[in-house]
Symmetry: C2
Subunit: 233 residues, 2 copies
């Protein structure tokens, strides 16, 4: 329509890998990963599904690209900061990113084909620990422990069937109503006396476990050497 092109054809933004990835992430964020189909993604971009294959090799490649974008969103702490506060900030940012992109939590492809943002991120985290005095073995231990916790927490958080606090309470109440309390007394007690108390939000559990791990790592680092776990290289 109002195009000043000499051809009367409406100017169309060219497709690109970047645009495909951005649109795919937006779609997965808003409609869920199961809504991300090549046909629907093409529709969102005003293009036939088959055109996407000019910019991504296949759907797996698309998912790899999306995952690398997610890693790129995590705040990269400066390597000059003190290891504990730097790592803590990075972990908090990581969880927020995974909450923003729930579909990314279960995607197991990050390990197989890490993209440039993923590699940069990993290198920085390792560097922070090494600068903080961690041996190679303790660095591997720490990285594994911390990221396992974050991934697992995000997964549990995402698997909760509610989003708002009100919904949460309503569902916990419904859950409790169906629960044979005499059969599961401890579960019933924890639900009524703790989870259903005003102000409870599962996400608030995150810092407890994170600080538990970080404090324990600090103790392993500065305290007496544990020959079982903290052998030097």
């Amino acid at each position: 329509m109002g195009s000043t092109d000499k051809t009367a054809v409406p100017t169309r933004v060219r497709l690109s890998r970047d645009r495909v990835l951005s649109s795919a992430i937006a779609l997965a964020d808003t409609a869920g990963i199961e809504a991300l189909t090549m046909r629907r993604l093409g529709e969102d971009l005003g293009v036939e599904a088959m055109s996407l294959y000019n910019h991504v090799a296949n759907k797996d490649d698309l998912l790899y690209g999306m995952i690398d974008r997610v890693y790129g969103e995590i705040d990269l702490p400066s390597p000059d900061d003190q290891w504990k506060s730097a790592l803590r900030a990075r972990c908090i940012s990581f969880r927020e990113v995974l909450a923003r992109h729930p579909w990314a939590t279960g995607l197991k492809d990050s390990g197989t084909r890490p993209g440039p943002s993923t590699l940069r991120h990993h290198d920085r985290v390792i560097g922070i620990l090494r600068s903080g005095g961690f041996s190679l073995a303790l660095t591997a231990h720490a990285f594994s422990a911390v990221d396992s916790y974050i991934f697992g927490f995000a997964m549990q958080e995402n698997s909760l069937p509610y989003t708002t606090e009100d919904e949460s309470a309503a569902l916990a109440r419904a859950f409790l109503a169906n629960l044979p309390g005499e059969e599961y007394p401890h579960l019933a007690e924890l639900t009524t006396q703790h989870v259903l108390q005003p102000g409870y939000r599962y996400v608030d559990e995150f810092p407890f476990g994170l600080d538990l791990i970080l404090d324990a790592l600090e103790r392993r680092l500065t305290g007496p050497q544990d020959p079982k776990h903290n052998r030097t290289v």
Copy 2:
């Protein structure tokens, strides 16, 4: 063939929800969760896909049933055991179960519709912590921290592209060959100097993080009260 039935029709084992679940788990274990389709599952059971709908409501219901079976496989420690060793044994069993059924790790449905085995398991874990002297708040903290770690570890373990130690080394070597080492020096160092050292297996990282968390929980339990995290009910 050799049937002693009065009808000459070969006796066929009747379908049942139990048989459907067992067959589905076996299929997912051996061929991967993406191979678990209603048609393929029907084939394995010698039946048309549509017959399955007489025993499961739909595919989601099938997955719920499978998840509950998985929870049923976790060793339930006796509630009379000391909390730390009981919880530790349960965590080790849990990780083993998830390694046996990798498809169960990413399934987020456990929280939404817990089955009887899942409820029994949760009730027992909560009971062990409560008997060990954990407040309700600390019980919730501990449960979340420990299970986040286990789920996340299993996810990372399952996302590794190899299974045997030799494969692992070969792939790490290939990874390293493609890695621009000057761009990611810390990642390159950790890979060559630690991961590629003989005898390294990622699964061996598990007890480090687990004991890190359990020791820290014990300290929170017996040590000076932390008003931020360990408030009583």
